[in-house]
């Protein structure tokens, strides 16, 4: 069945004749000077004159090229970061036991949270009916580290060693108070599902240097407590063409599902088959112009190339022992956070644009001291190792590393406060994240919270500001990367977001 496919397809059957004619006329009109003149006049008058004077009357011409125009302008400026690795700590890690040092709390164990601090702000349904809100200081000690003399909790001894590479933002705030909307808000810029994830926007706007691997790859730790669910729409493409969705790589025999050839098929004529299929799809796409057909074609091709590129990149057998020692003992067990960090580094070396790791289990409504200790132990060494590994390979220079969850936690204990055990409820009004690497100032802390880490007192950074800054570092003006859907243009930061210029190097 190999060599009889040179002839191009024809729509032989008579019912297509009508369609063929229509197509020819359309082509003719759009490509000849008549269409050209109309186009010229339209854009001259429409945009420049009428658009300003009588904006409400004229409707924008629906052109297929609008999106192309937007994409062609990207990158808007020279990017500092060529790729991103986003370590998402799902569940909402407590800022009290990690980065936000609050020494004054130490003497306030068990005292009620002053009303002047809370100011009647809303709480979650889980603790809103508590009669008292006893404040609780960190169970763990803090000390200063690095040249920057940054206070870091004893739970993060390895992160403390790379603190001079980090830009710690202590004043992130979000709008959502529960996991699903908060994580969706962080990932897509909107609390309701349906918008594209950050990685999808990046993939759509910037494309990839490496056509053999997806632009947006997702790794989920298998060794985390699955206290809050993750769902694939968090790395979904929303309304963007579907080749921009995040592709999850799993540990084990089948890293990417449905990628292997079916049993009993040697795959030798796969390439030819796909070429033939893509011709068919192209032909189908011509009359309908559905971008999803285009997406399907490119996904088939990507899957074919991934059949060789994925096993190659997943194979860590040629990594020296020294690397596994750097990332810690877990790193030899595929699918753990540490192993995923090694994998992330390998993917970044292959110029994958956006790698996102998820590590669940930070939702400590109760049993926080023990829970935080375990979570930090599972992630601390590998996180620090990733920074060091990227640095020595010269990759930190143009790779942006991000660490953070979807919100922080309250100063008061949820449930009964015991002498050696407590919990903390969700707190979106302030929490800590850090960035490191390309284009951000190393060794600084940005933003401040009050003595209770309840309100922000200096330099607040909204989630949209964070997203705008991330896009800025990638060379994209967040206000100009838009996509038209259901009659309006959408962007990651919706109608908000300011680049946090103070943290840019």
């Amino acid at each position: 069945m190999s060599d009889n496919h040179h002839e191009s397809f024809r729509l032989h059957s008579p019912e297509f004749n009508q369609l063929n004619k229509r197509l020819d006329r359309r082509n003719f009109l759009t490509k000849t000077s008549l269409g050209l003149g109309a186009l010229a006049l339209g854009s001259l008058i429409g945009n420049r004159v009428l658009g300003k004077v009588a904006g409400s009357v004229t409707h924008e011409p629906v052109t297929a090229t609008l999106e192309e125009e937007i994409l062609r302008a990207i990158p808007h400026f020279a990017p500092k970061a060529k790729r991103v690795v986003y370590l998402f700590m799902s569940g909402g890690p407590s800022q009290f036991e990690t980065f936000d040092y609050k020494p004054k709390l130490a003497g306030m164990f068990g005292q009620p949270l002053p009303d002047s601090v809370r100011q009647g702000q809303r709480l979650t349904a889980m603790s809103a009916n508590q009669s008292v809100f006893p404040m609780v200081p960190s169970a763990y000690q803090f000390s200063q580290h690095g040249e920057s003399q940054t206070w870091i909790s004893e739970l993060l001894p390895h992160t403390a060693q790379v603190v001079d590479d980090l830009c710690i933002i202590k004043s992130i705030h979000s709008e959502a108070i529960n996991h699903d909307p908060a994580i969706t808000f962080f990932q897509t810029g909107n609390q309701l599902p349906g918008r594209p994830s950050i990685g999808s926007w990046v993939s759509y706007g910037l494309g990839s240097d490496n056509k053999n691997l997806p632009t947006f790859i997702v790794l989920v730790s298998k060794n985390a407590v699955k206290d809050q669910p993750l769902y694939s729409r968090l790395w979904g493409n929303g309304f963007l063409p579907s080749e921009h969705q995040g592709v999850q790589f799993r540990a084990g025999k089948d890293p990417v599902l449905f990628l292997d050839n079916p049993e009993g098929y040697d795959g030798k004529d796969r390439k030819e088959m796909l070429e033939y299929l893509s011709k068919l799809n192209t032909m189908q796409n011509e009359p309908y112009g559905d971008p999803e057909v285009q997406a399907r074609i490119s996904q088939y091709e990507m899957a074919y190339r991934m059949q060789t590129s994925v096993p190659e990149v997943m194979d860590t057998s040629d990594e020296p022992d020294e690397v596994f020692e750097l990332y810690g003992p877990d790193s030899r067990d595929p699918g753990t956070y540490a192993a995923n960090c090694i994998l992330a580094r390998k993917l970044l070396e292959k110029d994958v644009k956006f790698v996102q790791l998820y590590h669940q289990g930070w939702d400590h409504h109760g049993g926080l001291p023990a829970g935080m200790k375990k979570q930090c132990k599972d992630t601390d060494q590998a996180t620090a190792a990733l920074i060091k590994d990227l640095k020595r390979r010269g990759l930190l220079e143009d790779t942006l590393v991000i660490w953070g969850g979807e919100f922080g936690r309250t100063v008061y204990s949820q449930g009964k406060l015991q002498t050696n055990d407590y919990g903390r409820d969700h707190h979106p009004r302030c929490f800590t994240m850090w960035m490191a690497g390309a284009g951000v100032k190393p060794g600084i802390s940005y933003g401040e919270t009050d003595d209770f880490s309840y309100n922000i007192v200096k330099n607040p950074v909204h989630v949209h500001d964070f997203q705008a800054t991330l896009m800025h570092l990638m060379g994209v003006d967040h206000e100009r990367l838009t996509f038209r859907f259901q009659g309006r243009r959408y962007r990651l930061t919706d109608v908000q977001g300011n680049v946090v210029r103070d943290i840019l190097s």
Partner: protein
């Protein structure tokens, strides 16, 4: 089939590209027509009257054709919008005036004043068009280059000299005095003598000794460039970051005219800037930028397409920039010949990633011929010391990654002529210990990273929960 080819051929772009040829016609012909109109007034040139009609007609036609082609061209590439907007509408106005003047001429009306207006419009349109292609500072460059020499002269033994006259005054001379000096005193402000500086301008004092942030001068310098109060004016040569820091330092330390540099308090940062004045280094050598400031012409499209066809990711650095980055990461069965494809884009190519390719010493010859490279990734390739000297001509190089190769300190040492090199990565090479120290001495301005990071076992790895907490 042929029809298909013709249809798919991009007519718009093709027609648009005639704009640069056509534009010169209305400029010449309409100007000439105006000259004819004026000369024909005198009896000596009476005979020119008969030529007016045809020259106006041709000028009008070519003006309209220029407008159409110009409009099409503007759609094929992105130009600076504000300039383009002005150019476009001045051009349309010019074409309309040429229509009007032709009509008036046919009706035997007086046209000489309309002709004068038309000449002005032609000149403005032409100037704006030139600004789009050659840059808006094209005309004024001749003046500004001489005034730029402020800081590039070296100051020997800077700590012993007078802070104002050797550090601050040259800055003011270079960037301020043209408008605030003996020749012009905009805002009644002069910077040429200490007395005038202290006196300030029409809005009062511009310097608050000891407080740079409150000084009007610094405030206006720090305003965003698009603010109309920004100084120096946008079209004039700007102060560099280092210049501003020096000014701030001088004002913060009291704006003294009679003290030596060493008598003023200095932070480490200021000290390093001051010391850099000693060696006459300019800003470009101090600040790392992987992105050149000067512009470059467009890369030949055929060559770019060839590179893409080969699977090389070739991407413009930014919008409105012709600089390119090339990444070989997805290239299958790489051979040295692939590097030849880069030759036609050598002026534009500034970032090149060849890591993990089967690159050998022979291939470095082609890499060494890419003069504008700023970032070069050669990690995990088969290159050795023998190949490295071929890179010594890459004078712009700022980032070089040689990790995982067989190079030794001897080979790397041969690159010490690379004055701009700021980051050198030698992870997983044989260079360690003493060799590394020697290299660090040799490359005093370069951060050399050879790995060697450890994650030591920490006592706190086995933290036990302290109980009871709190009290």
């Amino acid at each position: 089939m042929i029809i298909r080819i013709i249809l798919s051929f991009n007519v718009t772009e093709f027609i648009g590209r005639f704009h640069p040829v056509l534009v010169h016609m209305p400029v010449g012909i309409l100007m000439l027509a105006a000259i004819f109109i004026w000369l024909a007034k005198s009896e000596r040139f009476e005979s020119l009257r008969s030529a007016i009609s045809i020259s106006l007609f041709l000028g009008m036609l070519s003006a309209i054709a220029s407008c159409v082609t110009g409009f099409l061209l503007s759609k094929t590439d992105s130009y600076e919008e504000a300039l383009l907007f002005k150019h476009q509408w001045f051009a349309i106005a010019t074409a309309l005036i040429s229509l009007v003047i032709y009509y008036l001429h046919l009706k035997n009306r007086e046209t000489k004043w309309v002709a004068a207006v038309m000449v002005i419009f032609v000149m403005i349109t032409g100037h704006l068009g030139g600004s789009i292609t050659h840059g808006s500072d094209f005309l004024t460059k001749a003046f500004s280059s001489s005034g730029n020499s402020g800081n590039s002269k070296s100051i020997p033994n800077v700590q012993e000299t007078n802070a104002f006259s050797t550090v601050i005054k040259p800055l003011l001379d270079a960037k301020c005095i043209a408008c605030h000096g003996p020749n012009k005193q905009k805002g009644k402000l002069r910077f040429d003598e200490p007395g005038f500086i202290s006196k300030g301008g029409e809005d009062g004092s511009v310097i608050v000794a000891g407080n740079a942030a409150e000084s009007a001068m610094i405030k206006r310098i720090l305003l965003p460039k698009d603010n109309k109060d920004h100084m120096p004016p946008t079209e004039k040569p700007q102060l560099s970051k280092q210049d501003i820091e020096l000014l701030q330092w001088w004002i913060t330390t009291g704006a003294k005219y009679d003290l030596k540099v060493k008598e003023l308090p200095q932070t480490d940062h200021i000290k390093s800037i001051l010391n850099s004045l000693e060696s006459g280094k300019t800003d470009e050598q101090v600040v790392i930028s992987y992105f050149p400031e000067q512009t470059v012409g467009k890369a030949p499209e055929v060559a770019v397409q060839q590179l893409r066809d080969r699977g090389i990711a070739i991407v413009p650095i930014a919008q409105n920039s012709n600089y390119l980055s090339a990444n070989f990461v997805a290239v299958e069965s790489f051979t040295g010949k692939d590097l030849q494809l880069l030759e036609p884009v050598k002026k534009q190519l500034i970032w090149l990633k060849l890591g993990n390719m089967g690159l050998t010493d022979v291939d470095l010859e082609a890499v060494g011929k890419l003069p504008n490279l700023r970032m070069l990734f050669l990690q995990n390739t088969k290159i050795t010391d023998q190949g490295l000297p071929q890179l010594s001509n890459l004078s712009e190089l700022q980032y070089l990654n040689l990790g995982g190769t067989k190079v030794t300190s001897k080979g790397v040492g041969q690159l010490k002529g690379l004055k701009n090199l700021r980051q050198l990565y030698l992870f997983q090479t044989a260079i360690t210990g003493d060799d590394l120290d020697k290299l660090r001495q040799l490359f005093s301005n370069t951060i050399i990273d050879a790995g060697g990071y450890e994650v030591p076992k920490l006592v706190s790895d086995t933290t036990v929960l302290k109980a009871p907490i709190g009290k």
